[in-house]
Symmetry: C2
Subunit: 362 residues, 2 copies
């Protein structure tokens, strides 16, 4: 790898390709892969007809198509995506920006997006951004995806500064984020406030006087959205919102929060912003001999596969992650193809009742 001209650093990072590594000799005419020209010759038709058959155009006689496909097999032809992109101006590729923290939700959303994209004939390329990155990392990732030809981009990282970080980029490349309030042209994929509302109301409905809250990583917009909604519900119902106990999505942070809660004598109900944190919370409570749900009820968010196998099994608000991914991908594709959205309904979270909540004692 030879890099030249460090002085260029100050210029558009969006353009420079840093990975020069020697020339690649052009293949000689003999060992070149067969092209549509070869197929056309073998089938006795024009290259255009070959192109039409390959890309599924109508108006080709079945018999001709059959001949062409036979020729394809005979010469071992393989479609060349790059050439097609160059000629057509289309790549049928969407980019996904994800934060590089391994989590169930990450893979579920990505899988959903990939599936939906594949069904629509699109390919997904990914770019990851280190956790807690600043705006620059996001613009870099965006630029990388754009340079690879993404016709649209899904940002699976609802961070507050996204809209300003991306700036005018979102005008030339359709972009979808998690949330409407990102201001990047997408409808809300899932109503985070509804999640917090369902969780908080569930605890209040059970008879708890108030509900404590372990929040997620402040880096994520979900965290503040849920916190705000939780607070709003409490005020609405005449309860006093206790101070927020900060978390960062990790089980370890949940554990720390759990120790805090265990030390609060009159705490009887907690709304924890993720299942993983809830595991930590419950373990801390357990170690402090505070029974769940006997003394303290816990409701969380996500409904990961393990939620049902916590002790006690977690009552949680399910997020349809895969659907979120599907919806995001479908929405960008609609934007790319300038179609009307099939659905503008936000996805519905769902309260899954299990064993970690109960009415307060007495």
């Amino acid at each position: 790898m030879t890099h030249s001209c460090r002085t260029l650093r100050s210029f558009s990072r969006a353009v420079v390709n840093a990975h020069y590594d020697g020339r690649m000799p052009r293949r000689s005419a003999e060992d070149r892969a067969p092209s549509q020209v070869d197929v056309a010759r073998a089938a006795g038709v024009s290259t255009q007809t070959v192109s039409r058959v390959i890309s599924g155009h109508p108006n080709v006689r079945p018999e001709t198509a059959r001949r062409v496909m036979a020729a394809v097999d005979a010469v071992g032809y393989r479609w060349h995506a790059a050439a097609a992109s160059l000629a057509s101006g289309r790549t049928r590729t969407i980019g996904v920006i994800l934060v590089s923290t391994a989590r169930y939700s990450t893979s579920a959303i990505l899988l959903g997006a990939e599936g939906a994209a594949a069904e629509a004939g699109y390919t997904v390329i990914t770019a990851s951004v280190p956790q807690h990155s600043g705006p620059a990392a996001f613009t870099d990732a965006f630029d990388r995806l754009e340079r690879q030809g993404s016709e649209g981009i899904v940002v699976l990282a609802p961070v507050g500064f996204l809209a300003e970080a991306l700036g005018s980029r979102v005008e030339r490349t359709p972009t979808v984020g998690h949330r409407q309030s990102d201001g990047i042209g997408a409808d809300a994929l899932i109503d985070q406030r509804a999640i917090a509302r369902m969780a908080t109301e569930h605890l209040l409905d059970l008879g708890h006087r108030t509900v404590w809250h372990v929040s997620g990583d402040e880096f994520w917009q979900e965290s503040s959205a849920r916190r705000d909604a939780w607070e709003a519900v409490l005020l609405e119902r005449g309860a006093t919102p206790p101070p927020v106990i900060p978390g960062d999505w990790s089980p370890a942070s949940g554990y720390r929060a759990g120790r805090t809660i265990a030390a609060i004598p009159d705490a009887t109900a907690v709304f924890v912003s993720s299942d993983e944190m809830a595991f930590g919370v419950i373990r801390a409570l357990h170690e402090a001999r505070r029974a769940v749900p006997g003394e303290i009820s816990v409701v969380s968010v996500d409904d990961i596969a393990l939620a049902a196998y916590a002790t006690p099994a977690l009552t949680t608000v399910r997020q349809p992650f895969e659907e979120v991914g599907r919806a995001a991908a479908m929405r960008v594709i609609e934007l790319i193809e300038q179609r009307e959205p099939v659905s503008v309904e936000p996805l519905r979270p769902e309260l899954v009742l299990r064993a970690s909540t109960a009415p307060p004692k007495g």
Copy 2:
């Protein structure tokens, strides 16, 4: 979407593009995006020089490079990946095939691969395959990735039939699987037998007479590799291997297995093939009033974030998922660039001692 010629179904699925959806008008000369020609004109150099600057070739005078980059900014030039691919014959893209089940390991490995690829200047495209798919789904995914220009492919699905399903494909496109025994040209990324060995020996060393085993989904080669090694260790140490209790990686299957184990009076130690299943096992044991690790020790595999927050905290054999992803990506890239492997060492699993194992009573 118009589809024609169903009769073509029988021909190479590897070639046909099913997603014709009307023509896309070619953009007129005015609103066409600026190309290297425009930059060259603005900078007063040849397009070749522009190309050299953009792609980081050496042998360009710094002053010239600066002029070119200024022109790039001035005209708003953006590099066109497809055109470059066509001209150079290289796409700098690797494909990843993954099984569409959302799991921690999936995202961790993928993130690792994406990170390593990005560092080497490669882009990652993904194709998912439904869980429990037959060979056809894998070849389809492989073909999809190839048609998009993947220069190499990472298969994150160590299924037994991979080698035969992929057939000669792996000769033209460098392919890396999880395991050496895939026979698809990759070194073992992680030694599954070592995992089983560490887990089993740990329990035996604690003094247990024998070790029961809850296996993973038979679809995955890991399952049988671990089962074989577990059995081998037992025989080696003069213990009698009890019958395998089948699981499928899910917590629910672990729970079922746990109920089975709870009914076996003399079972004192279990090697569970994944942390998620271990949660299910432990819960079933707990419900059956069988103490862990008091009566029954449990050791599992993965060391997911939640492992430390199970009750009791899971003793488990950690798999370095992200490193696996990195190694896989680096290995394909080495194959693509025909370089010698930087390292052929398989990744080392690691036994993480926590609270779910103990010596047998008495």
